[in-house]
Symmetry: C2
Subunit: 222 residues, 2 copies
């Protein structure tokens, strides 16, 4: 999720923030690249002020580290980070599925099913870019359904962190078919109010994603 709690994509600060973030997450910068406020400002045609604010936010997110009076440096996401994130996510997605089962409304269930149907359609057609979006949407809908501000916050962050990895690996081998099938299974468990099963399935779903990524080869992305 990129809309973050209020990142304000339309202010200069928001634009700069999104831009640098994207540049780091997409691997344009190398580890420890120095991010000079003036240079970035000049490049984007803004003053140092919005750049500074963007860098401070990125620091809190862990994407850059700032040494006082020296500068801001890029924190690349390492292969280990990605693996850790997926292990953590598998637990939290499980919890999320459980809570969603307990709290989901009929309307949210319908939205989820609609997303699922679309996913199944585009899986058949092999529309991978569309599938990527729908995959994100499915998970976001589940996050919301869980009804926990905190869980939503942390899962959204992680989800966003590994965006690049997901984008690259989602279409690898027979993952799309399996992934969509797993989504369907999770959905059915949630609908049937079987929280234990929903949790188990969601955990497995993420674990399978990790395996797929490992087969693909993480080093090809990072």
């Amino acid at each position: 999720m990129s809309d973050k709690q209020g990142s304000d994509r339309y202010s200069l600060r928001g634009k700069v923030y999104e831009r640098i973030r994207e540049d780091i997450l997409s691997g344009r910068y190398q580890q420890d690249t120095e991010l000079k406020e003036a240079a970035i400002g000049a490049e984007l045609g803004v003053s140092r002020t919005p750049v500074r604010e963007a860098l401070r936010q990125l620091e809190l997110e862990g994407l850059v580290h700032i040494i006082p009076n020296r500068g801001a440096y890029v924190n690349m996401i390492t292969a280990k980070d990605v693996q850790d994130i997926y292990v953590i996510r598998s637990m939290l997605e499980g919890l999320c599925a459980r809570w969603a089962t307990e709290h989901i409304t009929d309307e949210q269930l319908e939205d989820l099913e609609e997303t699922l149907c679309l996913s199944e359609y585009h899986t058949q057609k092999g529309h991978y870019e569309k599938l990527y979006e729908l995959d994100s949407l499915f998970h976001e809908q589940l996050y919301r359904a869980a009804g926990s501000r905190i869980l939503n916050h942390v899962l959204s962050d992680f989800h966003d962190y590994v965006k690049r990895v997901r984008r690259k690996t989602i279409a690898f081998q027979d993952r799309p078919v399996k992934s969509t099938r797993e989504h369907r299974a999770i959905f059915e468990a949630v609908k049937a109010k079987d929280a234990d099963r929903a949790e188990e399935l969601a955990r497995e779903h993420i674990k399978h994603t990790i395996e797929n990524i490992q087969v693909y080869g993480l080093d090809k992305i990072l």
Copy 2:
């Protein structure tokens, strides 16, 4: 953990950040209190610039929400948030204990044991303020021992979030004695390289903490 990745407590920005953060977490502000840059700056004797930066960081952390061109508003932590955090933490602390078991060095093991000994001493003596610090330290050492930047980051954040709750409830009833005993048990499992047991114990430890908090009465804190 308050030293954050580089929050820079010694710059004005860092001081303002810590101050506002503390004021929110300690409940000095009410939900949706408007935080005006000029007012805060005047109160702390600094210009708007560091205040702005602090507010932007707090937004990302979820402690304030900013409406563009309007202002920054306090996001209180609700009782449900606290409960959610503890449920999430119980899982992640479990994972942390597992990873710590797998990665901990002999030196880290010794540090941990030292903390533990001190805890046991101060538990006997009933030094609750000291115990609070040692409790934090024990967990932080375990976070570090797990050897995962990501897990450390998210757990430290959560740990910090519920600081106030912990401070208030740590001395409630016979919790100090039990808590220290549980720490000892976790330590022994880690030392014995029994990852399954360490994970299970760590999870239970947090669950017991939740129960203690619930008996104490969350509404008394928030």
